[in-house]
């Protein structure tokens, strides 16, 4: 850019500009790069996989109630910057997809007119229960009431999650499976350790016959619970 030409003809730069515009005009008939219009809604730009819009809750299996991953820990509610998540924890527990009793949310509302799609809720959720959806057109007839999504509207299956974010969903499934495996081996190791401790305890105290008989009568239930696969 170090030219410092003296007097040239007035208008030369303008002619160059006109040539550039003409090239774009004729180029728009031949090259796609020079005609970037996408005729929405008939044509759509293919959406990238990592696009995020509003959150949704994931459930495993086929029952949205039973398979819901959310355990109502309310971490997302606390971390949400514009505070658009409203959760009410249940009083009782119900078994989750693997049978462990967990709390569940009786109310889980997200006000999408406030949500800013920052996906911090997804980041902080320890249970991979809330993920980002990709749907962006939510025309509604009421301004605020219809944009308060309740638990029913927010709950979508893991298969849907695989559809919209395949790589992410596979990674999450693998992580969850690994977690369960680790928990299972840990439980098995703990049970084996408890079973090894039990005979040592009974062998170490032979005098108290009635006590040992009492203990021997109560050992079977712990055995069966330890042996149950997790």
């Amino acid at each position: 850019m170090s030219r410092d030409r003296g007097s040239r003809l007035l208008g030369e730069g303008i002619i160059k500009g006109l040539a550039e515009t003409a090239r774009n005009f004729f180029g728009s008939y031949v090259s796609k790069q020079r005609l970037t219009t996408v005729q929405y809604p008939e044509e759509r730009i293919p959406q990238d996989e990592s696009f995020r819009n509003f959150p949704f809750l994931v459930y495993d299996g086929s029952d949205p109630e039973a398979g819901l991953r959310c355990v109502s820990c309310q971490i997302c509610e606390k971390e949400c910057p514009p505070k658009c998540i409203f959760i009410e924890k249940s009083k009782d527990k119900k078994p989750d997809a693997v049978g462990k009793p967990q709390f569940y949310p009786t109310v889980f509302d997200i006000d999408v007119s406030v949500c800013m799609s920052c996906q911090i809720c997804v980041e902080v959720c320890p249970f991979e229960a809330i993920k980002m959806d990709v749907k962006y057109d939510y025309p509604t007839e009421s301004r605020f009431a219809a944009l308060l999504f309740d638990k029913h509207q927010l709950t979508k299956s893991n298969d849907y999650y695989h559809q919209i974010h395949p790589t992410e969903a596979s990674a999450v499934d693998a992580a969850l499976a690994a977690e369960r495996e680790a928990a299972a081996t840990k439980a098995a190791a703990a049970a084996a350790k408890a079973a090894a401790a039990k005979p040592a305890a009974t062998a170490g105290a032979p005098g108290t016959a009635t006590a040992s008989a009492a203990t021997s009568t109560v050992t079977p239930p712990s055995d069966t619970t330890a042996g149950e696969p997790r």
Binding site: L10, G13, I14, N24, E49, S50, F51, P81, I120
Partner: protein, 402 residues
């Protein structure tokens, strides 16, 4: 309102003031009995205006077509950003920083992350630094393209350069979307690294984009750099002298166009900028044309940095494992983190009191600081020049008003 205005000496509109003296200030209006027979025209280039880059208002007093006083009025987009930040956790503030200078979200994130990392003494792994540099320079590219398009649109080139610039910007935004999930409000950087790693094929796409980008720059150059009309409209218009730039804390391309060699990437190196070889273009006249050309040349330099970074990026972790994003509690103290954002020096000043919520959070907005000299630049110029000068200051109201 009929206040008589005391006679003022405005600079001769056709003369270029030497770079040594700042423009003289107008005298305060004086109410006197002998009101002047002629009246000055006061117009409000109001908040609704196609060319004021957002909701920004200027009360301009005109003598015919010449500006004799200009008072900017802003605050229409004030959103209590700093106060909100004092009630949110450190992590929760990150998405709000996206929305400051809403065109350049990643550099905003970067400045905030830098401040928090200084506060907490956090190290960032190498791959994350490279990714930060790549995304930061891409942000600079699309911001400058956007600005050049808008500057020419304001000067009446009915949208053509704007469309070309936005065509390129779209490609950068597509890259951001596949990396971070959102085109503009990226919320990508975290304390101690980045949120997610580059997806498969992203780097190749970025390299392909970079290979094509110089062609767009050449096209733009052919379309407009030699254009006599553009040169007439922008040369010797809105001259900012070097002394005034220094005393008004102007930073960024606006200062460099006035000859001030101050680029924070070189002067107060942050991240890994010391590894890249790039030059800092400097202007000598400080007028609108220089600011426009400096940004154009900076785009060339950014392309160089990007090529080097994309070539040298190592494998590795992208997040410091010692840092937990949630429940982040830095020790009590204060830190000021600043970067060279596309608009100037963007700084975040944080005071921590040991809890998970900042005690004080202050943003140094480059757009606002650069805007303070608007009156000095516009005195004695025409109304049409005011628009060109405002465009060259490159403001984004999200940053000015926060």
């Amino acid at each position: 309102m009929t206040t008589a205005w005391a006679p003022i000496t405005e600079p001769n509109a056709t003369e270029t003031p030497s770079l040594g003296q700042p423009a003289p200030r107008p005298a305060v209006p004086v109410t006197s009995d002998s009101a002047l027979a002629e009246q000055y025209l006061e117009i409000s280039m109001g908040p609704q205006h196609p060319s004021t880059h957002g909701v920004f208002r200027m009360n301009v007093v005109l003598d015919g077509e010449r500006v004799i006083q200009l008072k900017p009025v802003f605050g229409y987009l004030h959103r209590n950003h700093e106060k909100i930040a004092e009630t949110e956790s450190y992590l929760g503030n990150m998405p709000y920083t996206d929305r400051l200078d809403y065109i350049c979200s990643i550099t905003n994130n970067w400045a905030y992350a830098l401040a928090v990392e200084k506060l907490g003494g956090i190290e960032v792994p190498e791959r994350a630094e490279y990714i930060r540099v790549i995304t930061g320079e891409l942000t600079r590219l699309q911001n400058h393209a956007c600005l050049l398009g808008f500057l020419l649109q304001d000067m009446g080139a009915s949208g053509t350069p704007l469309m070309y610039a936005f065509r390129e910007r779209e490609k950068v935004l597509d890259l951001f979307e596949s990396l971070t999930g959102a085109r503009m409000m990226c919320n990508y950087l975290r304390f101690g690294g980045c949120r997610v790693d580059l997806p498969a094929g992203w780097l190749d796409r970025a390299k392909a984009f970079l290979a094509e980008f110089p062609r767009f720059l050449d096209e733009f150059e052919r379309l407009l750099v030699d254009n006599e009309i553009l040169m007439e409209r922008t040369q010797n218009v809105g001259v900012l002298s070097r002394e005034l730039a220094v005393s008004s804390a102007i930073s960024g391309p606006m200062a460099r166009a006035s000859g001030l060699n101050y680029d924070i990437r070189k002067a107060d190196t942050y991240s890994i900028y010391s590894r890249f070889s790039f030059r800092v273009p400097l202007g000598h006249h400080g007028d609108v044309y220089d600011r426009y050309m400096i940004r154009f040349l900076e785009m060339h330099e950014s392309v160089k940095i990007l090529e080097q970074a994309m070539r040298d990026i190592p494998a590795g972790p992208i997040q410091n494992p010692a840092v937990k994003a949630r429940l982040f509690r830095p020790k009590p103290g204060e830190a000021y983190g600043r970067i060279e954002s596309p608009k100037g020096e963007l700084g975040f000043y944080l005071i921590s009191d040991g809890s998970g919520i900042p005690y004080r959070y202050r943003v140094r907005p480059p757009s606002l600081i650069n805007l303070t000299v608007l009156e000095d630049l516009c005195l004695g110029r025409n109304v049409a020049d005011v628009i060109a000068i405002l465009g060259s200051v490159d403001i984004v109201m999200g940053e000015v008003d926060r």
